[in-house]
């Protein structure tokens, strides 16, 4: 909590707190990031579940995974910037903590997916990786929903 209180006092955080242009821009970039992340994750998951099977699995997934990772980094950077403004307040919100927990679960699910053979694309036809693919859709949708509710609780 001490750390969070200090974070709020940092000059760039204070600048963003009272900014007229920067905050909506950071907010918009966060929305773009999570939209891109959610879409690319959904497309990869649906591909595993059998959709658009006419598209080759490997290049399709390689491209979208790169997009998803970049979007995730963008979402973390913009999200952290907005979090820092009212860090102590957000950190005490159950819905914010739920969102962070869902992100951790989604990350654990990604590791599970890699272990089950999703890493090299050899598991393309494996039924095993369908479980993390379905979980991934629900977890990332949950992250977006929990994130949206932060502004309203």
């Amino acid at each position: 909590m001490e750390f969070l209180a200090l974070l709020q006092q940092l000059p760039p955080v204070q600048a963003l707190k009272s900014s007229f242009f920067a905050y909506p821009v950071v907010n918009a970039l966060h929305i773009v990031s999570i939209g891109t992340l959610w879409s690319s994750v959904l497309l990869m998951d649906l591909r595993i579940l059998g959709a658009f099977s006419e598209l080759p699995y490997k290049p399709f997934t390689r491209l979208l995974r790169r997009v998803a990772l970049i979007a995730f980094c963008g979402a973390v950077l913009t999200g952290f910037s907005m979090f820092a403004i009212k860090a102590t307040e957000y950190a005490a919100m159950p819905v914010f903590l739920a969102k962070m927990a869902l992100i951790l679960l989604a990350a654990a699910n990604f590791l599970l997916f890699l272990r089950l053979g999703g890493k090299d694309g050899k598991g393309e036809d494996s039924r095993k990786i369908r479980i993390p693919a379905v979980l991934s859709i629900f977890l990332w949708s949950g992250v977006v929903l929990a994130g949206r509710f932060i502004g309203f609780l």
Binding site: S18, L42, G50, A51, M82, K86
Partner: protein, 130 residues
């Protein structure tokens, strides 16, 4: 794609659409959709002042209960004259605005606040006409 996969894909998409539809109403919480139409006011003692993005807020103690009073975004709030220098924690405040439709929450959005005999109209086009 085989039959089972196709069904699964369709079900997943359907679930996502349902989730989005359910989340829809909550997205309207910004603005005034979440407040009552009638005016509402409280008087109490300020326990916290926040002037910043995304909205400025006051926490106000009214008879031992803490109310969250939402003001305008920081630029509009400061333009109305309400800055960090004009009020202190512990000051008496009167907030005029609209209460949340959800009466279980102690939350309102103010159009006007009065502190130290000064009136600040943070939403000047929404203040009561009298």
């Amino acid at each position: 794609m085989d039959h089972a996969a196709e069904r699964l894909t369709r079900r997943t998409l359907f679930a996502c659409i349902l989730a989005a539809a359910w989340a829809g109403p909550a997205l309207a919480h910004h603005g005034w959709d979440w407040t009552e139409d009638e005016f509402f006011e409280i008087e109490g003692r300020i326990t916290a002042i926040y002037i910043g993005n995304p909205h400025a807020t006051l926490d106000v103690d009214v008879d031992g209960m803490t109310w969250r009073v939402e003001l305008a975004p920081p630029r509009a709030t400061v333009n109305a004259g309400f800055t960090e220098d004009v009020a202190r924690v512990g000051d008496e405040v009167k907030a005029v605005g609209h209460r949340s439709l959800d009466e279980t929450e102690r939350r309102m959005k103010a159009v006007r606040i009065i502190v130290r005999d000064q009136t600040y109209d943070v939403y000047p086009d929404r203040v009561p006409s009298n």
